[in-house]
Amino acid sequence: MNILIVEDEVLLAMELESELEAAGHSILGVAMSRGDAFAIVEATRPDFAFVDIHLKDGPSGVDVGRRLASIGVPYVFMTGNLKRIPDDFAGAIGAIEKPYSVNGFRHALSYLVKRVRGDLADTVAPPSLVLPVQPSEQEGSAVMDVWKTRA
């Protein structure tokens, strides 16, 4: 996929870029503010976007998200504070909580790729990806095949 990264922490953005490229994707651009993000989206159309909520010009990631949703670009939020996300997730597929782990991110990425391509089949969203509607907490004993759908 051609991916847009909206993130104001340079180290993080670099790392994210490397991780995505290693997974076979290409990076359309890195935007550090709402303005930059809008400019990139005007010029090109990403297949997917990772959008940090807190940008150089304040918590404007949600605005970027809404713009992406309005033109049908699938995306997820990345944030250290889930409470900043509106209840409807502004049209995002979900949110990845920061700081995320390598495993958590890769697991979320593989799910997202499947979802964008439309071949989710048996796949269940991993815990590292927070969805707008949360499934109930699982308590007690459960033999879990991570690859199977939850009942």
Binding site: N81, P126, S128
Partner: protein, 351 residues
């Protein structure tokens, strides 16, 4: 009347000399006039006995006297019933006092009402105290409101600060992870890559604590079970190994924040160890149990993967991290191996 009750009559003497103001009225005469009053009444009202005899006691009423109270007295007298009522009365000199008035009919032997008896009690000082009390309470309430506003403002400022610090801590932890990943990508040697990845794994465990600490309502607590599930599921999921199954027996175990990082490292070591051995072979099942038991928390990870030799350096590092974290929490580590099955149990006191 005075003739009937001459001096020396104990009842008359009591009436004359008591400190309680009293009067007697005669309903048989027109307008129910006062026919006797005592010295205490004169002292209270400022009227001499000669100014009172023949007059109705409404002379004590004035502009601020509550008309409803007056009406109640009139009805009681008409109904020949007793009444207790508080009302504002006026002295001869125009000053006011609060009167706890008691009026009752006095009946003859045949049951007819012959006289009305009334006693008065000046409770102005109590009334004043009531007013003072009300004023003091209002003042206290506004002071409380002011202090509450101050505290709410301080709490708000503190909350903003906590959010700020949390945001910064998370960013810093993420930056640390990013630096490790960057260095690892740039390293040619697989030894260097492995070393950095090994450290990164533990730093991510600590980072996960920070993530899970804040998102619960109570900032100071941490749910070990939720953490264990996330780590286990993400580890297996990221491995892509469909032959590794997870058996999770997780019950909510909430611990105070200071214990969270060492405990997260422990959980990470136990599950990571099982995964590392499992990855080298045909998979298997990893069981993770987190629960409370008799005043202790128990974390147990067992697996049935084929026990294979692991990299001694990595294994050594893992054990040190595990033992240091256990010592931090006064926890015990118990390791058992029966054929394919390896079980590691960590137990720590609830306090």
């Amino acid at each position: 009347m005075l003739a009937e009750h001459s001096v020396g009559d104990p009842f008359a003497d009591a009436f004359r000399h008591t400190r309680m103001p009293m009067i007697i009225t005669d309903p048989a005469q027109q307008d129910n006039p006062i026919i006797f009053s005592n010295a205490a009444f004169s002292k209270l009202t400022g009227y001499g006995q000669d100014e009172l005899i023949g007059r109705n006691c409404r002379i004590l009423q004035g502009p601020d006297t509550d008309p409803d109270s007056v009406t109640a007295i009139r009805h009681a007298i008409a109904a020949e019933e007793s009444i207790s009522v508080d009302l504002l009365n006026y002295r001869k000199n125009g000053t006011t006092f609060w009167n706890a008035l008691f009026v009752s009919p006095v009946r003859s032997a045949s049951g007819e009402v012959r006289y009305f008896f009334a006693s008065q009690l000046d409770f102005t000082h109590i009334k004043n105290r009531e007013v003072d009390l009300a004023a003091a309470r209002t003042k206290a309430e506004s002071e409380v409101a002011r202090r509450t506003a101050q505290l709410e403002h301080a709490l708000e400022a503190k909350t903003v600060l906590v959010h700020e610090v949390d945001h910064r801590v998370k960013n810093n932890l993420h930056s640390v992870a990013s630096l490790l990943k960057l260095k690892s990508r740039m390293s040619e040697s697989s030894v260097a890559k492995a070393a950095l990845a090994s450290v990164l794994e533990r730093i991510e465990a600590i980072s996960t604590v920070q993530r899970k600490l804040f998102t619960t309502d109570d900032v100071a607590n941490f749910d070990v079970a939720a953490f264990a599930r996330d780590i286990a599921v993400d580890m297996v999921g990221a491995s892509g190994r469909k032959d590794v199954k997870l058996d999770l027996q997780l019950f909510p175990v909430v611990i105070p924040a200071p214990k969270a990082s060492p405990l997260a490292l422990i959980v990470n070591e136990l599950i990571g160890d099982a995964m590392r051995r499992g990855l080298r072979d045909g998979g298997g099942t990893i069981s993770v149990m987190v629960k409370r038991l008799n005043g202790h928390f128990v974390i147990e990870v067992s697996d049935d993967v084929e026990p294979v030799p692991v990299d001694p350096e990595e294994d050594g590092f893992s054990r040190i991290v595990l033992e240091a974290s256990a010592r931090q929490l006064d926890a015990s580590i118990d390791r058992k191996q029966h054929g394919r099955k390896t079980t590691v149990r960590v137990q720590l006191p609830v306090k």
